[in-house]
């Protein structure tokens, strides 16, 4: 709780216009003009995109709590704006990842069957699940993602020859190692596929890329090399999000006036973030940002439970 309070204090200093009149009782920036409000949303999204890219969590998981907790925007509009931004960052980063030579187009495509079907199911769930439940699930996913981003360890690579389902589907490949190309093969394919169904459902329900669950499926369940998991996951995020985007659009979740500053901000922030990533020492940054994410996640759960979301 102390953490949440100190974070809120910091926010009040950062965004003086929003907190002055008692933050939990008045809708923030209510009297603002549209350009002024859009500017605040844009700047926050820029920061969220930067954070999402530096922590490897993705912009979506950061921007939804920012929009709902800080700006009091209804969660349906927030997840609509987030989902669109997720497509932008995933596609925008694709060319950079491809050049490194780690991503595996076949493993990605095969697992996308699971994530897209899951995404449609998740998008269908958003109309069935009450708002406060979405908030609680979101908070829990946020907390897990923060934990995963700090704890994620590269396990030792073991070369393997594909057996069973992995052999029939040719879920194997090579990646550039220190001593030339190294071979790898997917293990426990059904477990990975099931986790991808879950990742897709969360993506459709919460409007996020759910990169953390995708990496969990590939890195932990299927025992793929860490770099292969993260870069292939980035590729999959856009396709997964596109599967629920049409449903969000037809339900009216995608509000142009709100999505415009969010999408441009998150995209810009994540592009800057990926440039910094190449140079900066990320370990400390990750821990610092994980604390911010935990604060947002806790606040989201608390707001949902007390019915303020």
């Amino acid at each position: 709780m102390k953490l949440v309070t100190s974070y809120r204090m910091k926010r009040l200093q950062l965004l003086p216009k929003m907190g002055g009149r008692g933050y939990n009782h008045v809708v923030p920036c209510q009297g603002m003009s549209t350009p002024e409000f859009s500017l605040w949303i844009f700047l926050s999204s820029l920061l969220a995109g930067l954070l999402g890219s530096l922590t490897g969590l993705g912009g979506g998981v950061v921007i939804v709590p920012v929009l709902t907790v800080l700006f009091h925007i209804d969660i349906h509009y927030a997840i609509g704006a987030s989902l669109v931004s997720v497509i932008a960052t995933s596609s925008g980063a694709a060319a950079t990842y491809v050049r490194e030579g780690y991503s595996n187009i076949r493993i990605g495509m095969f697992l996308e069957i699971a994530t897209t079907v899951g995404a449609i199911f998740g998008a269908w769930l958003t109309t069935r699940v009450p708002t406060h439940a979405i908030g609680i699930i979101f908070g829990v996913v946020l907390l897990y993602s923060a934990y995963a981003s700090v704890r994620m360890k590269e396990h030792a690579h073991q070369s393997a020859t594909p057996v069973g389902l992995a052999a029939r589907l040719r879920l194997a490949g090579t990646f550039p190692g220190e001593n030339g190309p190294q071979e790898y093969a997917a293990q426990r394919v059904p477990a990975g596929f099931s986790l991808m169904l879950l990742a897709g459902s969360l993506s459709g329900l919460l409007g996020i890329g759910s990169g953390a669950v995708k990496v969990l499926a590939m890195d932990q369940a299927m025992r793929l090399p860490f770099k292969v998991s993260t870069t292939t996951s980035n590729f999959m995020i856009g396709v997964t999000a596109a599967a629920s985007a049409g449903i969000y659009l037809s339900r009216g979740y995608i509000s142009p006036g709100l999505v415009m500053p969010v999408m441009l901000g998150v995209l810009g922030g994540s592009l800057v973030g990926s440039k910094i990533l190449v140079r900066a020492e990320v370990k400390t940054l990750r821990i610092v940002f994980a604390v911010v994410i935990v604060a947002l996640g806790l606040e989201m759960v608390i707001n949902s439970v007390t019915g303020r979301l």
């Binding site: 060319a95 495509m109 449609i120 396709v239 596109a242 599967a243 049409g246 995608i254 006036g257 415009m260």
Partner: protein
């Protein structure tokens, strides 16, 4: 030219990047127009009402954008954005066809079918 996975992925990566920058440019143009046209206090997003019907279906969005309606232009950019991953799956399917990889050609078609189902079913 022989099609390899690496070449295919580079082509896909470039296509995705181009799609995103095009989409972002359209959204930016629509956004500038939107802010220029905006009057009075900002819209209220604290209660969900859903956006206007004209901004929900691809057909209506495209006809609205032709009349220079700012929200429709933004939505058109977003449609372009949603189309990029779908184009990626199509490009991959074509690539697998050239590689004579029937299994992955079929897997790509399944993914494409799921994506199109969600778009068409939603409309």
């Amino acid at each position: 030219m022989q099609v390899t996975d690496q070449k295919l992925e580079i082509a896909i990566g470039r296509m995705l990047q181009t799609g995103v920058f095009l989409a972002a440019a359209v959204v930016l143009i629509g956004g500038i127009l939107y802010l220029h046209q905006a009057t009075g206090p900002r819209p209220d997003y604290s209660h969900f009402k859903g956006v206007a019907e004209a901004l929900r279906s691809p057909v209506e969005i495209l006809s609205g954008a032709r009349h220079g309606d700012a929200p429709s232009i933004i939505q058109r950019g977003l449609l372009l954005l949603i189309a990029t991953p779908i184009a990626r799956v199509i490009l991959a399917a074509v690539g697998f066809l050239f590689e004579r990889d029937r299994l992955y050609f079929c897997i790509s078609l399944i993914v494409l079918a799921v994506l199109l189902f969600s778009l068409l079913h939603a409309a």
